[in-house]
């Protein structure tokens, strides 16, 4: 066989059952206390600072990291349970999600020891928020076209240029960014970029919010003007970011957040059709549930492979490709299926509002974190086509 795709039927181990109950109980308490509304996915008004700390106090941030950094040395599969329960409940995770999923693991791999000791425990306590500074006005899918410059100076680097679409930069304490430290070379156009840890809210950094079609302000333009970064904030090899950028993507790509982003409209549809749906609704719901179940089994399988120390890069890209296309289409499918629902059912207004928001959210799902086209390129490479 040319392709070596594997999706073994990995099951969550028994310890996950108890953990799931704990997470559900915690979320139920938070909902009861009014921290967030599970029926309201649009949640930019919530300052979830205290919620983040409470999640940290539960031991649910940095779950898989070494204890010496404040982590809990639990498995990827346990982390998986926490992530999916939070997502399905529409919990306000934005403040800690990026740090926990992505930034922490990058620091563990590439940051000097004293930085790890300083920052990782704070992530685990839910105290700090991270942003990712990859995209620029003229560098999106083509990461290696990034121009924002880091110029060597005494004891560190001076940064000049602009990052854009930077989610959460307006609330972030840190950003992990790539900057140009050398020109690319003829032989290797990916050469010359270096990964840095940036402390936000410092001189030389201006954050300008950008409105989105949902009405939210989640991402930003970040302008650097002679912003100073000390030498010990370089992450990994100078000019060698291209060697580091790919390995963590498997974590980023295949999690439950890659197909559950608009899940709430499915729950609400099931509520709206009631206990005795007509054939059309039943078939539509049955197909959606079959597709959802399949993606989740694929995603759990990838989490299991990560736990086993494998790097399922192609499998992870497939999960994100199929998952994001599904969650993007979901509001439209639910709209179709809701067309003949009794206008007087009690949750009709909730469903309409949710559909409105999910439909506006949908376009971003196949763009953020690598477009569909980029993902298919990765899969094609894995198949031996390029």
């Amino acid at each position: 066989m040319t392709a070596a795709l594997r999706f073994d039927p990995i099951r969550l181990p028994p310890e996950c059952v108890k953990l799931r109950e704990e997470v559900r109980a915690f979320l139920a308490e938070e909902i009861a206390a009014g921290t967030f509304d599970p029926h309201q996915p649009k949640r930019e008004d919530i300052d979830a600072r205290e919620f983040s700390r409470r999640v940290g106090a539960k031991g649910w941030l940095g779950m898989t990291w070494p204890k010496k950094y404040g982590g809990h040395e639990r498995t990827f599969l346990e982390r998986y349970v926490v992530t999916e329960e939070m997502r399905v409940a529409n919990a306000p995770t934005r403040r800690f999600f990026v740090a926990d999923r992505q930034s922490g693991p990058v620091l563990i791999k590439y940051a000097p020891e004293h930085i790890k000791m300083e920052i990782l425990p704070r992530i685990c306590r839910g105290e700090i928020c991270f942003a990712i500074g990859m995209s620029e006005p003229n560098s999106g899918s083509d990461l290696f076209a990034a121009k924002t410059k880091a110029t060597k100076t005494d004891g560190g680097w001076l940064i000049n240029g602009t990052k854009i679409w930077t989610s959460s930069a307006h609330i972030a304490d840190y950003m992990i960014a790539i900057f140009r430290t050398s020109p690319s070379t003829k032989e290797n156009r990916r050469h010359g970029l270096t990964q840095f840890l940036v402390k936000m809210k410092q001189p030389g950094i201006q954050v300008n919010p950008i409105g989105q079609i949902t009405g939210q302000f989640e991402f930003n333009e970040v302008v650097f003007t002679d912003h100073f970064i000390p030498d010990d904030h370089v992450l990994g090899e100078i000019d060698g970011a291209w060697k580091q950028a790919t390995s963590e993507l498997a974590y980023e790509r295949s999690g439950p957040e890659r197909f559950l982003e608009t899940y709430y409209v499915l729950t609400e549809l099931v509520r709206a059709v009631g206990k005795n749906p007509d054939t059309r609704s039943a078939e539509g719901i049955g197909r959606l549930v079959a597709q959802l179940h399949t993606m989740r089994r694929m995603s759990v399988s990838v989490a299991g492979m990560l736990q086993a120390g494998k790097e399922p890069v192609v499998e992870a890209a497939i999960v994100k490709d199929i998952g994001t296309i599904w969650e993007q289409a979901l509001p439209h499918r639910v709209r179709d299926l809701a067309a003949f629902v009794d206008a007087d059912v009690s949750n009709h207004e909730t469903l309409d509002k949710q559909l409105d928001f999910a439909t506006k959210t949908a376009p971003k799902l196949t763009i953020q974190g690598g477009t569909t086209e980029v993902l298919r390129g990765i899969i094609a490479r894995g198949l031996g086509l390029r």
Binding site: L5, A282, E283, I285, A290, Q291, D321, I322, L383
Partner: protein, 354 residues
Amino acid sequence: MAESDNIVAETAEKIFADLADAQTINRDKDGSWKTPLWTALNEAGLPLSWVPEDCNGSGASLADGFSVLSSAGRFAVAVPLAETMLAGWLLAQARIASPEGAMTVAPAGPRDRITLNADGSLTGRARGVPFAKEAAHLAVLAHDGKGWSIALVDAKSCRTDASLNLGGDNSDTVTFNNTKPLTAKPAPKGFDQNTLLLMGCVARSLQIAGALESMLDISVRYSNERVAFEKKISKFQAVQHNLAKLAGEAAAALAAATSAADSIVNATSFDDAVFLEAAAAKIRCAEAAEKGAAIAHQVHGAIGFTIEHILHRYTLRALAWRDDFGNESHWAVELGKMVAARGADELWPLVASR
């Protein structure tokens, strides 16, 4: 893709590689490939994998049998292997010993029901029974008004109207007209027509997933050979993206089918969770068959549309298998009804329990 991880599956894989080569079979106009293949499978005890040794079988585990079916799908095997395995499994539920030779099961769909009459005879019609024409015996699930029974029937004692499915394999109508079975015994408690159909669904899902793996393999290989506009077609981005989508469909089918098989292996009963797994596998694999087969043909251009090319052996069988043991529309309605009956807030707990 998934390499075989047990000796039973390895044996099957080796027999298929030696005696079920798609190219050879496709060229063979008089069907002379069939007997050696079936003989080898029988000698290895594979058709009766799921029959305990004291019922005449080889007593392999459910898991081993499922991997044989994945392999059979990868080779688009066109002999009643899956059917004989299912029939043996069904008979074993009532501790009826399996006879030698090919078997199949009836009913093979949700709309047909066979009645066990008071005098012990069977009445009813089963449509779309795979390979009935080639089977010496049928394993039948019948209802007597009170409960389910499992019966072994001599194929000669019922009427079989032959018909072919999309893949050109027999898919026949079997009529029982006061047919006397060779044996009939009560089915175990809780065993009903859905149990049989869901087991059939998982078998077909594994076969479809296997066929999709082969479609991907053949299509990738072809795209790396075929030249157009002075380039290998694999270098065109549109072709690459189509193949990436095919890989996604194959992956989804593989994940859904192996997960469902695994859930049956570990199940103590056919509860809601097993129902979700098996129905979802059939639905998702059928959807994948449609999308995947279309892409495999697209990548091949005209050559893949010829009877001489092997591609249709996989694409048409995968499409045909969608119809067996309840098609995806049927199971989607059933799954949708179950989800609705459990209620909106019970959907996530059900999905997350898997």
